[in-house]
Symmetry: C3
Subunit: 266 residues, 3 copies
């Protein structure tokens, strides 16, 4: 069944309100390009980011955290070991963890590593169309870290991965598609500027982790995080003369949405 | 004896003026989340940042620098070796070095490593309340990289560490407390927005290093750096609609304070 | 022969237009301080950045990319291996690669490593005066990552390196000098604010890679990239109250220049 979700739905605001109030500690193993932006996006919605990426500490910290993000950008030998340990510990101790398979498909060793991580039971996989199609075993062309395919082309692959790995899969694009293998939630909207700055997809992975930390309904939590980022992107695009200002305005918009988020009253 | 220091004191402006004129080279071993922000904060006050974090080069570079910052965020095996070498060389050659014990208390290996670094004679330790209390051997709860304790709860621990290690200890919070184990300088003011962006505490550690490079009175230099950051935070908060704009305005404010800083005329 | 190039020359706009249309994939091995800024600068001009810095993947990715950037800031043991592999693969497969010798001269191991990389046939070397003079074997004083020398002092060294290594050498400064060992192109303009934020030089290295990816005339491509950054710096400086705003406005300006760039009609 396909449904649609946007910021206009009061349950999205309620979910964001929950994040702001619970301030989940999100352990991010992420890359050197987007680490600051990711931390600021999490702080803007009221979550508490922490980046611990060495092999000695990452498992211990995964257990202390409310959720874990594993983002494969700028992978290094040490981060690889740390990620395996953190993902394993997160699963063992019941912390939801999110896999962001940056660059999968473009690079053979990374594709293999992502396959290995999939066996450690991520709660959510969030990627672009190329990455999700490649995770499903297809040989679709990614180009570096950008997708050449549209998000709707990846729905079959997303469904396949969701069923095979018993997780939620989110495909980012003009419309975001989020599926648990049975239902599909479509999240329209956003701004094309989101694809022309670095880190918006990576920040979404972190927001998904924060939302999954406060809601056992992982399908809804993931779609709600997408809806929040898309709403923030729309607001930020208005009045931004260029991509530099947009990057700053996106954090302002997440901050404003979180400050005004209200609990759900049915 | 407790005294108070703020930007209103002309000696703070004079200290900042000294930094701008001497342009101290500050060697930062810091983390992937805040490296850019830290470099831009140092540049804004006229200091010269350089990040060298590998084991082969860090000791040589510590000697070339006027001060060294060792920040434990996103610790890695190689950074650990590089930090030990840089801190040791800094002490041997009389360069002040600042320890920012990010995450100490939350993670056992890191707490042990920080204890080891304390033996290499930092000129200043700058942390939040949880971190400083944990350095003092207490088991106070940090939560990731944020403190659950208020800064005034850590004054006893700060005094203990300052005396045990013969250094200055700065505890950041609503009021910053800076002590050499005998005197305490309180630095009030700032903005709550400083705690809701990533990197303001880490940037303060770097500013402390820059100030300690130009003033042998390390207690005063440390408090002056706090006073400058708090003044910049106040200015940046005015008129900032959200956290994104605040981050940018904070660098503008440091830049403006430094440009207008005046030498002291008694 | 010395010639001058600025944004006023319609061939510069045409070159930028070409980048925007071809969207070259630029593989950046760069440092933790400037990675985000570099990626956003590339995205602003329409190029596609990707950062892959581990030893297992970097050679494979160099071949997939249209150009490669090797920037020596925050060198690590693993990045060193990855850089050697990427530069070697880029040369073997005919991809232009750019060496940004950050910190060369200030650090002996890095100077030696840069010398080794020069043997892997970079298409372009871009650095400040101190770095280029030190590459030429001179013992000119760099200070950390900043140059103490003016760019025109390095013209002799630049010419020497260009001839010895059969590459283009660009020296950044108040005037940028770009030479292939025979001709020299001078690129005046820009803003002093460019030297007071972190990453503008490093971003230029990445832009040079993007421009070299779309034009076999590497001397012109390199000078055109300089001219674009200087024009963006001038625009960004206007109306920026401080360095924080300037950093944001610089990305806006690159974005605006790229959107309005026009093909050349002789």
């Amino acid at each position: 069944m396909n449904t649609e979700l946007t910021w206009a739905d009061p349950r999205v605001s309620a979910e964001l309100c929950e994040v702001r109030e619970q301030q989940p500690l999100v352990h991010c193993l992420t890359n050197i390009v987007v680490a600051q932006f990711t931390a600021n996006a999490l702080l803007a919605v009221g979550a508490s980011p922490a980046m611990v990426e060495n092999a000695k500490e990452s498992a211990e910290f995964a257990v202390a955290a409310a959720a874990v993000l594993v983002n494969l950008g700028t992978l290094s030998a040490e981060r690889e070991v740390a990620m395996r340990a953190a993902a394993g510990a997160a699963h063992d101790y019941g912390r939801p963890w999110v896999l962001d398979p940056v660059g999968v498909g473009a690079l053979a060793p990374r594709t293999a590593f992502a396959g290995e991580l999939l066996e450690l039971h991520p709660a959510v996989v969030r990627g672009n169309a190329s990455e999700v199609m490649n995770l499903a075993g297809a040989e679709f062309g990614g180009r570096g870290v950008d997708s050449l395919a549209e998000s709707d082309e990846a729905i079959g692959s997303a469904t396949f991965v969701a069923r095979a790995c018993d997780c939620v899969v989110a495909v980012s694009g003009k419309v975001d598609f989020v599926t648990d293998g049975t239902d599909v939630v479509e999240v329209p909207g956003g701004s094309s500027m989101l694809t022309r700055i670095t880190g918006s997809g990576c920040a979404l992975g972190a927001l998904v982790a924060a939302f999954a930390a406060v809601d056992d309904n992982v399908l809804f939590a993931t779609a709600a995080a997408s809806a929040v980022l898309k709403a923030a992107g729309e607001r930020a695009a208005r009045g931004s003369p260029g991509l530099g200002t947009f990057t700053v305005a996106l954090i302002d918009a997440l901050d404003a949405l979180a400050r005004h988020a209200k609990p759900f009253s049915a």
